[in-house]
């Protein structure tokens, strides 16, 4: 995506210059609008309760106090459990890693099979898998709760891994399928003539070519699963809850004095992993977002 694609000549003269400045001003105002909630969150998390009470909403913290962060991390009470966000953060990691690995691997294999070894009905199979990406989760909540109960996975991290792996398949299959469609079939053909088999071609030819889409898929799945709230709130009990559910419980605790700095620090803790990934690899995140919605 080049940043210099406009065919129009550069602005010259006084009028266009002013228009140019106006343009930048508008864009910067929008940037401020998007950044403000995040900046407020960060600033407030570093303030003392005293400073929040007396100071202004927009003021910067006078001295950077990490008290709220450390309190939110390992002392804040989530329900009756006063171990802070740390154990729930760990829960999210335990849930996210296997769910991302499983759904990405399955998606890659599906995409490979559905494009390079097409069988009769492959398109119908793909269409049926794809529908899952539009599914309103409410329609599967109750059966899933019952099924997890029967499987003995109710309220556990294992149950959430299963749920996320299954409902991630629609997106991962979609990503890989659309990527592999653009890889020449001749590559596969040549390899089969040389005697390579299904899995050999996958591991030796397709996977090495898949790095960009692997990154897109992993980032997408990581973000989706880390940010999930509905499944976590529905299927995880007490100690197995993911970080988003813990954050919501912490923020909505009605007992005691409201500690806004702790709330904000806890929100930052829950949001930092996806935010950092976005900062480091935003390009790939955007590709996931727009994958397929826009051609190319």
């Amino acid at each position: 995506m080049s940043s210099l694609t406009s065919a129009l000549p550069p602005a010259e003269g006084l009028g266009p210059r002013i228009a140019r400045w106006g343009l930048y001003l508008i864009l910067l105002l929008f940037a401020a609008y998007y950044l403000l909630p995040l900046l407020l969150m960060v600033a407030t998390s570093f303030k003392s309760p005293e400073e929040i009470r007396t100071g202004s909403l927009l003021s910067l913290p006078r001295d950077l106090s990490l008290d709220a962060w450390s309190y939110a991390w390992n002392r804040a009470c989530i329900g009756a459990d006063c171990r802070g966000m740390a154990p729930y953060f760990l829960n999210s990691v335990i849930i996210v890693v296997p769910a991302v690995v499983i759904s990405t691997l399955m998606g890659a294999l599906n995409g490979y099979a559905l494009t390079k070894w097409r069988f009769r009905g492959a398109n119908i199979v793909f269409a049926m898998i794809l529908f899952g990406s539009f599914l309103p989760s409410q329609v599967i909540l109750l059966p899933m709760a019952q099924t997890l109960g029967v499987l003995g996975l109710a309220g556990t991290a294992g149950g959430l891994i299963l749920v996320h792996a299954v409902y991630g398949l629609a997106f991962t299959t979609l990503f890989f399928r659309n990527y592999y469609v653009s890889i020449p079939d001749d590559l596969v053909k040549a390899a089969t003539i040389d005697g390579a088999g299904f899995f050999q071609i996958f591991t030796k030819i397709m996977l090495p070519l898949s790095l960009p889409i692997l990154v897109v898929t992993i980032i997408w799945q990581f973000t989706q699963i880390w940010n999930d709230f509905l499944f976590g709130a529905s299927f995880a009990a007490g100690g197995a809850q993911p970080v988003t559910v813990a954050l919501n419980n912490l923020v909505n605790t009605t007992t005691g004095v409201k500690q806004y700095n702790v709330d904000m620090a806890a929100a930052m803790i829950a949001g930092l992993p996806t935010l950092v990934v976005y900062m480091l690899a935003g390009k790939y995140f955007i590709r996931g977002l727009t994958a397929g919605s826009v051609k190319g």
């Binding site: 909630p37 097409r118 398109n123 409410q138 599967i140 059966p143 899933m144 923020v251």
Partner: protein, 349 residues
Amino acid sequence: MASLDDRPIPGSGPLLPPGPIPGRNPGEDRTMTLENPPYRPAAGEAPDRDAAPPATTGLRALAQRHLSKLVVAPSFAAILLFVYGFILWTAYISFTNSRMLPSYELVGTDAFTKLWRIERWYVAIENLLIFGGLFIGISLVVGIVLAVLLDQRIRGEGVLRTIYLYPMALSFIVTGTAWKWILNPTIGIQEFVRGLGFPTFTFDWIVQQDTAVYTLVIAAVWQSSGFVMALFLAALRGVDQEIIKAAYLDGASLPRIYWGIVLPSVRPVFMSAFVILAHLAVKSYDLVVALTGGGPGYASDLPATFMYEMTFRRNQIAIGSASALMMLATVVAIIVPYLYSELKGGKRV
């Protein structure tokens, strides 16, 4: 964000069982995949083979041929059970009188009749219309404006794009914590403006019954408009620059060029953006929980929170299931015409 690239035509062939089918050569399905492979076979190769490896004989070849189906089978079986099976399960429950626990005794359409007599359901539906309409409309306008402005050879475009889009990377439970605070009249914007010397300034939408739903719009637009921007910017970059240049040399003004030439040429993106935003609106749940909790009272309930409340808190499982089916029906009503129009035109979005 489902892709519609290379979309297969639903219903154009019999649904196959996921297992291997003896005697089928994967190369034989050419008629099924007309729209698919962008690559033509090289000269000299069998013209009726697209993706299929050359047919060889023997046991090994047989295994190789069916491996493809075997590999897809587990995923497909999981989807059949966890998506389609569960939809049927929920549908079945909605025709029972299940309350605290699912019962499997059919009683007809009682739950639906009851659902449409609950005032709270009407509040949720009305809120969805208000929220959905404003959320989609404003997100589209903001997103398109940002995309067009960013398309003007902006210095630092990459940084601005990153800033506009970062909310999409965060959970609504996270950003909702900030928004709840900003919108809280006693500590947020209202208090801030009053402190500036406007003691009568009032901005307390979040605690008022008839305005709470608009705070959902504020936060949701903030979260998703960057996504619309990204969609349109990508599309704008695909517009033929020569046409724009020609129009410019003919003396057309910049707004006219965009309004008359550029935006109409990216029309399919409007459709994609609309469908994605609309189905996000129907599914909105985290947003409500984080921001208003459906309150005050149930004034800012949406169908998703209504369903959760009925199913898991009020022991009205049948009614909850009925409402979930209504949500599914709405999503299907949005995406099916979209898929249909996409397929009819045969164009790729």
